[in-house]
């Protein structure tokens, strides 16, 4: 297994641990449906994913998943408060046009909102910027800036600040080291490579 596939699996396992069996889950930016497929098989959830790409929706449909092609905020507006037990925003938050709007809407339709993102405050990423003076490129960010979708290089400190400013309660947080495997709770903004949060109103 490549290092990247391994990292992807770690992310899935932690979210999988947090998801209660048999609950209703919404995955924002579901991609090809790998996470939802995993949750469906391990937790018997009732799941739906949202993504913008026809091909990714096709891949989800091929896995037997419910998937919706379209804008995630408009989609969420179609549902009553707390319709979903959990809304997952895994490695999507950095690409959102309106992160505040999406997360607040997710907190309305979901009892819990799970956010996972790569920490750009991680020392290696800082060093990369400092020494190379270039956009971060590693096994996760494989492409040049001109071949990448626009993304906010947010950090753990940025995200915690966002929650404080918006009055969002952090119910649970996990910070993982550069290998995205071992927990790293000391100086996470500098020492953690990946962050996962459970948010609540």
């Amino acid at each position: 297994m490549t290092k990247l596939v391994e990292k992807r699996t770690v992310d899935m396992q932690i979210i999988g641990d947090w998801v209660e069996p048999g609950t209703r889950v919404l995955d924002l930016g579901c991609g090809r449906g790998a996470l939802l497929d995993y949750l469906l098989q391990t937790k018997d959830v009732s799941a739906v994913g949202v993504d913008l790409s026809f091909r990714r929706i096709t891949a989800c449909v091929a896995r037997g998943l419910s998937a919706y092609q379209g804008d995630m905020t408009s989609f969420m507006r179609e549902f009553p408060d707390r319709h979903f037990d959990r809304v997952i925003c895994s490695r999507t938050v950095q690409e959102l046009d309106d992160p505040t709007g999406v997360i607040l809407e997710a907190l309305r339709v979901g009892r819990t909102v799970t956010v996972g993102f790569v920490n750009h405050g991680f020392w290696k990423n800082r060093l990369d910027a400092l020494l190379r003076g270039r956009k971060v490129r590693n096994e996760v960010y494989t492409t040049e800036w001109f071949e990448s979708r626009p993304a906010n290089p947010l950090t753990i400190a940025d995200f915690e600040n966002f929650c404080a400013v918006k009055g969002i309660r952090i119910a649970r947080r996990v910070h993982l080291a550069g290998n995205w495997r071992s927990p790293r709770s000391i100086l996470p903004n500098l020492l953690a490579g990946y962050a996962l949060y459970d948010l609540a109103r």
Binding site: F54, R55, A59, S66, Q69, F79
Partner: protein, 398 residues
Amino acid sequence: MTDDVETQPAPGVAPRHLAPGEVGLVAPHDFVCAEPFIFKSGQTLPGFTLRYETYGALNAARDNAILICHALSGDHHCAGWHSADDKKPGWWNNLIGPGKAVDTGRFFVICANVLGGCQGSTGPSSVNPETGRPYGVAFPFVTILDMVRAQKLLLDHLGVASLHAVIGGSMGGMTALQFSITYPAFTRRVLAMATTSREGAQAIAFNEVGRQAIMQDPDWNRGDYAKGGGPRVGLAIARMMAHITYVSDASMDRKFGRRKKDSAAGDAYNFDVQFEVESYLRHQGQAFINRFDANSYLYITRALDHFDLAQAHGSLEAAFAPVQAETLAVGFTSDWLFPPEQNRTIAHALLRAGKRASYAELSTDLGHDSFLLESEELYALVRSFLERQEPPVFDFSI
């Protein structure tokens, strides 16, 4: 649905109907139901006939059947050729066949002309046994639900235990949705394209213009006319107008632009045909009157107008409450008859009702008839939904 669906036979190769990957020569059959049929309106028929075609074979478990539902002006002939010199195959031949997206090597595919139609199924042009003359407007008012109930009787007759899927575009999509509501345990998958859960004001308005064109034609004669006669002018105009709603500004402009019939001529100050698009529409109108009955057009457009699942059940969620099927709704960006939003609404309501539902949207500029598009992306989606086969991908970037 327009009459434009055709495949281009490559010169110098074997006839298309003999090619591998095609269902080949097919023949229609008639299902005759001798039991009285009570319509939603309360009106009755002593019995009815549905003309249908099937491709592929029913398996031992009798559960590999796929029902194809046609649109307003479609029919039971959705794949294959009726004879070796047929110019065109069935209307969805690009989708249906051995190894195609709807794989007849795997599935038993059935398509029937709707009740109220005019391609062999009982409709207003059928002879009323009580009078010995065509029913005309004495035919019972038909609804999408009536069409579905009649087709279920056909499926029972064919020994189908349950449907692997029911598939349709436009009116066929409504029929498919209605199937999963009326026969929830019988229907495992619904694939509804370019459709709606509720005929909106604009669509009703277009239908009404078509009906007025027919009914204002003196030859309509309150629906009383001999077979092959009737309001030919009115029906042709109805078709010309409807045809415009099936395509798009962009696709018409690409196909015709402002090209003239006689390219050398300048502007002629008369009302004869000058632009190619005029000539094309007139041809469409003429082609239609030779294959369609004006009274059927009135009845089926009325059935479309009456289709409103939310109103029929109190709310769309209530309508979908009994559904057991997985549903896939597909919208097309340039469809202005049943725009993407109306297809999204179907998925929203099903998901709110706690059902399994997906929505996919294809970018195309071909308008409402995009569901008939020759598109590898659409085929991949249909195949994924029916067979759950994901093409392998080695892209792990985020």
